[in-house]
Subunit: 192 residues, 2 copies
DNA sequence: CCAACATACGGAACATTGTTCCGTTTGCCA
DNA sequence: TGGCAAACGGAACAATGTTCCGTATGTTGG
């Protein structure tokens, strides 16, 4: 398909650059698991055996690195939306199940929920990616449930995602059951 | 051990120390308003016209300073609990109104909601104070509503406060209505 | 009122972490 | 293989929290 249409025709990176990018991704993924997404840049660099400059060259902001590491899982979550809507008994059930997927994803990534709503400029990309990818899906589920008269109308997908994301913060505290809180929140959407 | 009783018998601080503590409190309160509770220590010191050492001497951690600044308001919120319970038409209404007070307090303090659930050791004191002061009040309201059969049983006050606090994060974003989200959350507590 | 001492102060110095920049190395292609 | 652009490494710089100690000052006994 040519590839040199509107795309800037990526001139194929050098072999060492490609290798380092992969190494970095793996090192970052491992570091995120053990130390959360706030792990110091130097630690990731050390684990990957590269200099910090190399990280910044490949991933200008922390958000770029986080997005790269979790892209697959976010895509999977996004794609599950329409499927759930088709399978489930009711739009509200589909919405609840989809939110469950989202929550399961968030609570297993130490520090991600916090980063998701940080207003730090470095997380701009993270915001943009999650929102671009998930808002349309969320909107579809929300619209379906609203049209079926199962939930309140006029709830913005952005607000729902943000609220759910917020509720997932601190999910590693054994005294705080984020999944349950989100469940209550979703229950509050119902019309009585 | 003498030490005269259980009270440590404060030996009355020096005049300049008392003066600085007051100045610091005022400077911090002003700085919190304009730059949030994460304002750099140096900025507070500069605004108060003292050295950073003086801040650390009076308020060893940022949490101590935050608690000192907001103590009155937290007390007022705590004391409003029983009053609301006595006045309101139903325990659930009282709970909702009390939560509204709490939310109003939180959303007007830039960065406080975030700080409230940070697991940073420096915020230990903040956690402890809010929890010690508000959990009993919340528990009373929760118990009353549960006994009246208005809400689900077995909800820990800690979880409710944490959930509400979480929902208040990012309340300065015009696209996110924290009050409304909390309202939905509280609605989700009801038995149907 | 003065001297002496404990208290409190100021801010330099150090630690941590993010970010930039440039001299050096290395892959790639002619 | 020679040369050049790409990529690298890590020193250097910036922002902030935190500690420490020489200095200044309030307080008190005489």
């Amino acid at each position: 398909m040519a590839d040199d249409g509107s795309a800037p025709a990526a001139p194929r990176k050098r072999a060492d650059a490609r290798r380092n990018e992969k190494t970095l991704l793996e090192a970052a993924a491992a570091a995120f698991v053990t130390s959360g997404v706030d792990v110091p840049v130097r630690d990731i660099a050390a684990k990957a055996g590269v200099g910090v400059g190399t990280i910044y060259r490949h991933f200008p902001t922390r958000a770029d690195l986080i997005v790269a590491v979790y892209r697959h899982q976010v895509e999977a979550c996004a794609e599950a939306g329409p499927a759930l809507l088709a399978e489930s008994s009711s739009p509200h059930a589909a919405l609840a199940q989809w939110i469950d997927l989202f929550v399961d994803f968030l609570v297993t990534k130490h520090g991600l929920a916090e980063a998701l709503q940080s207003d730090d400029a470095a997380f701009q990309t993270l915001h943009a990616y999650f929102l671009d990818r998930l808002i349309p899906v969320c909107a579809q589920l929300l619209d379906a449930a609203a049209e079926a008269g199962e939930i309140i109308p006029d709830l913005e997908p952005f607000e729902l995602l943000r609220g759910v994301g917020n509720l997932c913060i601190g999910a590693d505290n054994p005294r705080y059951d984020a999944r349950r809180m989100v469940g209550l929140f979703i229950a509050g959407l119902r019309l009585h």
